[in-house]
Symmetry: C2
Subunit: 221 residues, 2 copies
Amino acid sequence: MIGDYLPFWEKLGKAEQEKLEGCAKKQTFKKGTLVAGEHRECTGILVVTKGQLRVFVLSEEGKEITLFRLLERDFCLFSASCTMNGLTFDVMIEAMEETEVYRIPPEVYKQLREQSLAISNYTSEVMASRFSDVMWLLDQILNKRLDSRLAALLLEESSLAESEVLTVTHEQLGNHLGSPREVITRMLRHFQKEQLIGMSRGKIELLDTERLTALAEDSIR
Amino acid sequence: MIGDYLPFWEKLGKAEQEKLEGCAKKQTFKKGTLVAGEHRECTGILVVTKGQLRVFVLSEEGKEITLFRLLERDFCLFSASCTMNGLTFDVMIEAMEETEVYRIPPEVYKQLREQSLAISNYTSEVMASRFSDVMWLLDQILNKRLDSRLAALLLEESSLAESEVLTVTHEQLGNHLGSPREVITRMLRHFQKEQLIGMSRGKIELLDTERLTALAEDSIR
């Protein structure tokens, strides 16, 4: 039931709940499907119930820059940008694995948001989160791509240790790169979310050396 | 009166209007004042009534990257980021000239937003606009800084024409840079907003060759 995936469900009135239940359609995207492209479709709000969507933009050179990923229970606003005044940019959305969503049609969502405080407030919060993700990316780009330097360092350590499991502290990595421990921890968590590494107590395991290598060699332009 | 500056004023109830009027304080920032810095202050919502605020971030090398500017009637959410779940980034805000604002205390604003659909919806819209501004900036950075290339071209044309007033079409500029006319027009409007150039029918006037030169020589890193 779609209500299970919407944190504001209990705050809605009966009529609003029924409206949402009546219009939300389950949809499945195969791995690799482009859920939204460059043609400003307005497919509606997608609520992920299984799988993973990647939201990205294309650079002039055709490079894909990932803005953020949407996992189970995430709420994709950017497939419904027509419902939101002021939202004037386009993104591409790709299913990274077989992904199931509930789709709420844009006109229903717009109407509900304009009537329901719970939905309106939730929309603001989701947008604030995604905005923060993009600001984080911008910070990465402006700050000489710590991700790239950290990936290079992890590969180097791995090669030195002749192992894909490293016993190195975040502080030690930070010292190598001249960055505070907190910044390194934040970046490692990002790597973990991107399934580049695994982390367990005191250990970092390189899970995808191929992508780490690409990242290490990479710069945004 | 603060109501004159709030587009949602008429949609508020009497009690909400009185609450806003009672708590909003006029405040003036001298040119150059840092209205918000890196210390996560939460001063509240600022509603600009006169002047201009610039919202920017600092790169690692200490370079200031302007995200957007707030002019009369604009609503500054980022000085009240504590009121918004999910908004986890910090920005700096500087008064570019003597700037007058109404300040709405964060706790009052948060409470009103949680109660008033009009304020909640307006907040989403403002956030969507600013998010779009930042996406535009990201696009600039990823796409080899068209602004820099266009500034260089305008200066070159000006030097060739021995005049600071150019009679050149957006299409011609686009042809020089290999960009569609629409993209050039959008960028020229941005330059105009930044007071780098003036535009009138068929003419482009360079207003600030110093900043254009800096832009032309510049790259984000």
